[in-house]
Amino acid sequence: MTAPVRRPHGSPRNLIGPLDYTRRWWMRFLVAATFLALYAPILTLIAYSFNDSRRNIMWRGFTLKYYEKAWNNDSLIDAFVNSLSIAVFSTAVSTLLGVLVAIFLWRFKFPGKSAYEGFMVLPIVIPEICMGVAMMAFFARVGWPTNLTWPFNLGNIIIAHIAFSFPFVAVIVRARMVGFNRELEDAAKDLGASEWQTMRDVVLPYLKPGIVAGGLIAFTLSLDDFVITFFTAGPNTITLPVKIFSMVRFSVTPEVNAASTILIVITVIATVLAMRFQAPQDKQEG
């Protein structure tokens, strides 16, 4: 990376240098148009969840009635509660598994390690639909019962979500692990700490921001997942994205916008928090 070229003091600022691509009008226009195209549909969707008109066309004044309607829509609320329950269980287990993998890969070398690492990223790289149909076929084959009580009726979806979330957690925690000074661990052991004490009092506290970030990402991945849940879910275990999908296919109403807006707000907040937790480490590295 080269340092940004500093203009000598007093040189005219309106002279565009050959590499000042961002100061060319056509470049600015293109970037502005791209960001407009990226944001306009989403902002429109959010705006129309507050619009006092059934047909999402003209602005007819502010209202919260579609949120009220969504709140009184039992199947929508059920779907939302399912989504949150799945996300909580999936986050707990996938964070644990992801941390184990991260520490394991950081600490040990063993024959076949790169193959093992390759396997661990498989859930990230294969197309979602392939994983979705695999889960569907698997649970049909296993004969997962459909009449269980909460939260076990969501068990198959939770299991599927954990399977695709924990490799992501592992990647995030491992990034944090890179900056760990191994001498701290040796020092703890020299001073008589056991394996478990070292882990609990030295390694885990250091990893904490990475673990929190990983957990938040696991939470949003689970809350947001549509494709894999679509194939895994039974008729009685609908999640919010699956519910939104069926509502959109049926008709486009501001109620869908309201439900979508809630999901957008939750996932964006969770992701912002995750980035915050990861940030200090980035500064150390850079």
Partner: protein
Amino acid sequence: MDSWRKNPLVFWVLNLSPSVWLVAFFIVPLALVWVLSFGEKRGLLDVAITGTLDNYARALQPLYLEIFWKSIWMAAAATMVCLIVGYPVAFAIAFAPSRWKPYLLLALMVPFWINILIRTYALIAVFRTRGYVNFTLEWFWDQANSLLGAIGLGGYGLMGARFEPLELLYNNFAVSLGIVYAFFPFMVLPLYANIEKLDRSYLEASLDLGAGHWRTFFSVVFPLTWHGALSGVIIVFIPALGAFFIPDLLGGTDSQLIGNVIERQFKSANDWPFGAALSFLLMYATFGALALRALVVGRKQGLEV
């Protein structure tokens, strides 16, 4: 790093549960689908594993080949648009003053955090016949029409009798556009990573020696950053082929991606062996593309984007 022999207990405590989980709830399901793909459908949910290759052969029938061809075409067109728009955007971010960079990258990432299904749905309001694109076009049409009226050409109906809204939704165009919208950041990020690393003196040299910006791009920038372009193309194109919900929401009756065919076999047509074969064909394509990239980019960069 310790050898695993040094502390086998810790070794197994750490890796046992994740490994078991991955095998039981990921590898086994995939293996099951793989086995199913060699099966024959006997009853509603009854599949006999006979080792037949019929399911793969069926994918080569003209009917399906035509669907695949169209599907590949839509995804490829979308990928090209991402690439053509993505390069200048990645360039602009890479060459932006360093205090803007994090914000520009963040601005690119935020829509990406939002559920892909919701983003697809959001396009409907923009592109339908009574949506914003058509409203904007209608406004321009009205302006042009009144301009024609003002210069005395109003009576001839040069612009047509009235504004005809464009049918932008429920066709292949909408599907391609939906793919672009859903996967665009996937293209920009690897491009940005490569352009950022580019040694700027090469560009300066090229421009100093009299090459124009286009020539500099094609003879200097592209040859040095095409790895990023390749990564971008792979991570846009392959997931796009499986994104069955985009045609479901934005496509017409005959716009289908490979994902829709797979989804139908599992959800409504109930022909799991054929669906299994198709999903493994998609997996092989993924692995093929990743292997190709590993081969040309070199092992060093591995799976990082």
